[in-house]
Amino acid sequence: MAEHDAVKVLDLKGLPCPMPVVKISQEIGSIDVGQVVEVHTTDPGSLADFPAWAKSSGNEIVETKQEEGLIRIFVKRVK
């Protein structure tokens, strides 16, 4: 089973700013409220940007995992 019951994976590897927040803002509407999407990014700026985006858009970062060459962010749709 996917971690945090993520219903989908959004692959943003290799995309720099502003693409990660633009993409999550476009994709968050495709899952239901309460569901989680797992974002894969290689942009270290996303570590600061996703919490900022979540706060501003009223959503939630459930967990962030830093692995070798990959950052995985679990975003829950709240609104």
Binding site: G14, V21, V22, S25, W53, S56, S57
Partner: protein, 181 residues
């Protein structure tokens, strides 16, 4: 007792009425510069703002308007000065230079190449994304007149509007973020 409540209520009402409305989650930006790097920054901030759930309005004025020219369009009926300016100013965003390290084109070409390699969206892609996301573009009428640009010369962009400084200020004063680039 009842009188006190009425008085206090009236005082409170007065206080609330006197309060200025808070700003909207909105970005208003003057795009005065026609430099490639500054335009990229402007478009990244504007598209980012929409991603953050904000409205975004870009006001193109002075050198910024040259970046909106469509290189494929030629219009006639211009007077001598307008033609001169038309030749001297970059025709569209493909012709813009860096504010820094342009170095006769070498620096600008290098940066564009580097952006491609690093997957940074090009100015063309940023404009496309801005249009998709609903970033509004407003164009300074006075600059259009001064540089001798005609409306038909500008790129297609959804709901492009022509205006003056009053329109910018009306947007800016209700915005939580304002910038001049």
């Amino acid at each position: 007792m009842a009188v006190d409540v009425a008085t206090e209520l009236a005082e409170l009402k007065k206080k609330v009425d006197e309060m200025q409305p808070g700003a909207l989650p909105k970005l208003s930006m003057v795009v005065f510069s026609g430099d490639l790097d500054k335009l990229i920054a402007a478009l990244i901030i504007a598209t980012g703002a929409v991603a953050m759930g904000m409205q975004a309005v870009l006001f193109f004025t002075f050198w910024g308007t040259a970046a909106l020219r469509d290189p494929k369009v030629n219009v006639g009926g211009k007077d001598f000065m307008s033609k001169m300016f038309g030749w001297m100013l970059p025709k569209g965003r493909g012709k813009l230079k860096l504010s820094n390290m342009h170095m006769a084109g070498m620096g600008t070409a290098m940066l564009k190449d580097l952006m491609r390699k690093k997957n940074v969206p090009s100015l063309d892609q940023l404009f496309e994304m801005a249009a998709q996301l609903g970033v509004q573009i407003k164009v300074c009428e006075m600059s259009m007149d001064l540089m001798g640009f005609k409306r038909e010369e500008l790129i297609d962009y959804p709901n492009k509007e022509f205006c003056g400084v009053a329109t910018f200020l009306a947007d800016a004063k209700e915005s939580s973020v304002q910038l001049f680039i």
